[in-house]
Symmetry: C2
Subunit: 139 residues, 2 copies
Amino acid sequence: MSSAAVRDRMLAAGQRITRQRDVVAGVLERARRPLGAGEICDAVTTSDPDVGRATVFRTLHSLVAAEIVQRVTLAGGQSGYLLCAADGHHHHLVCTSCGRTTDLPEAVVAPFLSRVEETHGFTVDHSSFDVHGRCADCR
Amino acid sequence: MSSAAVRDRMLAAGQRITRQRDVVAGVLERARRPLGAGEICDAVTTSDPDVGRATVFRTLHSLVAAEIVQRVTLAGGQSGYLLCAADGHHHHLVCTSCGRTTDLPEAVVAPFLSRVEETHGFTVDHSSFDVHGRCADCR
DNA sequence: ACCTATACTGATACTGCATCTCAATACGGA
DNA sequence: TCCGTATTGAGATGCAGTATCAGTATAGGT
């Protein structure tokens, strides 16, 4: 995903484009894997020391709200932030070895959730799966 | 689950039974829903003001390690601690209305994980699902 | 019932993530 | 260019969780 694409998606979500948001989005783009809050703050400060911590978190929050970034749970239990190529809410496989993530196709997830709803009379509002393991490359 | 059952499970996990651990386990037993760290600390202090913070967290850690308690993600994204009736690792449905949880049978989860492994050549080490919605009673 | 090794505990300081406040600033539409 | 308003930075603050370490209580053997 290019910076331009991220900007378009932020504009589409009614958000202004600022230098600070570009920096945060750029850090996540270059990582191509989920980053912890500390890593993001460090990388942002390296890129541009004049971006405040509060702004980093506000930006992450905005990006999560716009579904451009997802908050995922890393192996240790800490949360990480991941820039998603795909639009909308979806799920990921996280490789415990290389740290990279793979999108889980809706075709695999939807039948599972339907089954859950049927079996338990439960209406699913929101779901997030943390599936950790070793990807095909790392095995 | 009775207090005695929890004590047995702690002993089975090679842990000593102490007054402090009884207090923490008792708080989780009475709740019958996931509690946040703050709620637990408050309830423990109410029950017995002489139990230290560090001990509460150490106890939670031990209970999680023994798979007596699971750490789940609540609606807001904060994590909560839940005393599980079932042994071993399993998954939950969390009702956003009443806060109560339902165990997800392995029979529903296993085929889904198998499908994921087959489709992606991914070896699943650990998975945790956060499924939020409204339970049958609350609809 | 007693003894002993050692697992456990409490107070406190500390780390890290995240949010709040508020005056100052910059974006972007007209 | 001008203006309304979303956004920003600094620093204080809150909350979750961990580290330290001397002192205590538990389980299990005798």
